[in-house]
């Protein structure tokens, strides 16, 4: 394989047989600021006879109508999270129908779908484009069992790849929590309600053929909300259930009681405050668990106390963000993906809770995505390094076990991007000399907050100045790394088989930021 070094000193391939050619990563905005346009994917025109219903008997029939053939590309969305039963249901049918060599290009893969590993072994799937991989599937890929390397993309990067044609979806199978007989779809109503259908909206718009799968066929017209319009949907299949509602829309995540996470959250908030960014009109994205979510508690108290009203919240929206909208702490919330049942209600009842598609959220190659308007984002990490690079994809053993998600998109877009991480986890330090895999470049990370102090990127002297003035506990990242290693010892880096590329990691602009090799067996 022809490899080159990118600007971060990572070896990346120039060409992946069976996938295409790639440019190496240069810098966060090296592909932006260009005049003119580039030709994107063409629209797929259809000419069906007028009909009053698109409902077909079963998945087999819908697949036949779709014209799916061996070697084509299919997609799914992951809005049903770990409650999803649609991906296994459809793959099982495709397997029984005898398909081979399909490319699976879902928006991401829920943790529970270890079955995909079996469909790779059986030959049903031979290529995979996704945001993340975990569990058995991650282990299989890290053993190098898939011949063609997986392409890992961020949420914004995937939207870009679909719109430019790097991912050409032949058939999108879209789980639809509410659907009418002509294919108007929303995710915010029904027994399997999941909130926003942001990722599915992008697939529906660009797939050659769209199959809606629903357990809740409603009378025409679906109302009051339509997320995906009927003119994008070719056929509809009714099934008993899309999955387990308890796992689709979990209870609202609570603020952590873990004192380490709370200290990290409090210090992150203090850093935000010291930077002067928490002002009227402020915009914010946070995670939905651990220290990242806990930042919202400190932020909420402060905004209330000072009477600060923000502009918008963005996400990955959980119940906490929906609550802040309800309290009037933000003018609006943009929601590409919802995380719990409280959100579904907010989206249904509050017009300021705005459902957005993946491209609107984070695609760097459209006329303006929302992450570029973010003031502050709080992000988690599996590991970081002394150059502030972040890894959210591979574990200490080098095995694929995470997802790129919106990490690199929001880090690049936000004025202040804060990564929160305990200084060690399970006895292993979080700060490395070099992260195993770069998913988010250090150039886009402004600070790393740990319970043992705040590390500020040397590129942000202004932030360092304001933090010191506010009396925050600032520590040099290399010094902190040494301090933690005194407690834990120095871990041995994972060993890889450098002849076998298991995955490539795209940056949001389509350049390659890193390569994940199979583990040494």
């Amino acid at each position: 394989m022809d490899m080159t070094l990118n600007s971060l000193g990572r070896k990346v391939p120039l060409e992946l047989p069976g996938v295409g050619s790639f440019a190496p990563y240069m810098s966060p905005f090296s592909m932006l600021g260009q005049p003119g346009t580039i030709q994107g994917t063409q629209m797929h025109m259809r000419r069906p006879a007028p009909a009053r219903s698109k409902v077909v008997e079963n998945i087999e029939k819908a697949v036949e109508l779709s014209g799916l053939k061996d070697g084509m590309t299919i997609s799914f969305h992951h809005h049903l999270r770990n409650g999803d039963a649609v991906i296994p249901m459809v793959l099982d049918v495709l397997q029984k129908m005898g398909f081979k060599g399909l490319t699976l290009a879902p928006s991401s893969i829920p943790d529970v779908h270890d079955c995909i590993a079996d469909y790779i072994r059986s030959g049903l799937i031979n290529r995979l484009y996704t945001s993340g991989v975990r569990g058995e599937l991650g282990k299989l890929l890290s053993r190098g069992e898939l011949n063609i390397p997986v392409v890992i993309r961020s949420h914004g990067g995937r939207a870009r790849a679909i719109e430019e044609g790097s991912i050409s979806i032949d058939v999108a199978f879209l789980a639809a929590p509410a659907c009418d007989p002509l294919g108007n779809i929303t995710g915010s109503i029904g027994p399997s309600a999941c909130g926003s259908l942001g990722y599915a909206m992008t697939d529906a718009r660009h797939a050659r053929h769209v199959v809606a799968i629903t357990d809740n066929l409603v009378k025409y017209p679906l109302n009051p909300r339509i997320s995906i319009p009927q003119y994008l949907v070719d056929s509809i299949v009714c099934v008993d259930s899309l999955g387990d509602p308890k796992k689709i829309a979990t209870g609202a995540a609570r603020i952590t009681r873990n004192p380490v996470d709370l200290k990290i959250a409090r210090d992150s908030f203090r850093l935000m405050k010291s930077s002067g960014i928490v002002e009227p009109g402020f915009s914010f994205q946070m995670g939905v668990g651990g220290a990242s979510l806990a930042v919202a508690k400190y932020l909420e108290d402060y905004m209330k106390e000072k009477g600060i009203r923000g502009s918008f919240g963005l996400g990955g929206v959980g119940g906490y963000m929906a609550g802040m909208l309800e309290e009037g702490l933000f003018d609006a919330v943009f929601d590409v993906q919802s995380f719990d049942s409280a959100v579904t209600k907010s989206m249904q009842e509050d017009p300021r809770h705005i459902e957005i598609d993946a491209s609107w959220y984070a695609n760097p190659f459209n006329a303006g995505c929302i992450v570029h308007n973010l003031d502050c984002v709080i992000l988690a990490a599996l590991e970081v390094d002394t150059d502030f690079n972040v890894n959210v994809l591979t574990g200490n053993d080098g095995v694929l076990r995470g997802a790129s998600g919106g990490h690199q998109d929001t880090a690049a877009g936000a004025k202040l991007s804060i990564v929160v991480a305990p200084s060690f986890r399970g006895g292993v330090p979080s700060i490395k000399e070099r992260v195993t895999t770069v998913t988010t470049p250090g150039e886009t990370v402004d600070a790393i907050v740990t319970e043992r102090g705040i590390c500020i990127n040397p590129r942000r002297e202004d932030l360092l100045g304001s933090a010191l003035k506010s009396g925050l506990s600032i520590v040099d990242i290399t010094a902190l790394k040494k301090e933690v290693e005194k407690l834990t010892g120095i871990p041995r880096p994972a060993e890889f088989n450098y002849d076998k590329v298991a995955a490539v990691v795209e940056y949001r602009d389509g350049t390659l930021i890193d390569t994940v090799y199979a583990r040494k067996s």
Binding site: N396, D397, F424, R425, G426, G427, V428, L487, T488, G489, I490, P491, R492, A494
Partner: protein
Amino acid sequence: MILLNTASAGTLESSDCLVTVSPAEKLKLEYKGANSEVFAERTMQLVESVSKKCCLSGAEISIQDQGALEITIKARLETALIRAVKGVAKE
């Protein structure tokens, strides 16, 4: 130091480890847990240095590491060895 019987120290709680030591002619380490790969050398060195300090002739040592810090493993190992010498089988 000569071990008289099998003894253990520690727990299987996260961030702790369970160390079990038994009399044996030579030093033998079985290191298990999620970190057994990344910390294989570090833990071997730790066991060797504790053994040397205690003039331990031989022992069969098993460490189930639940993500413990180095200092925790050291303390659990020393305690297990003291118990094995005193003849206290367990807590």
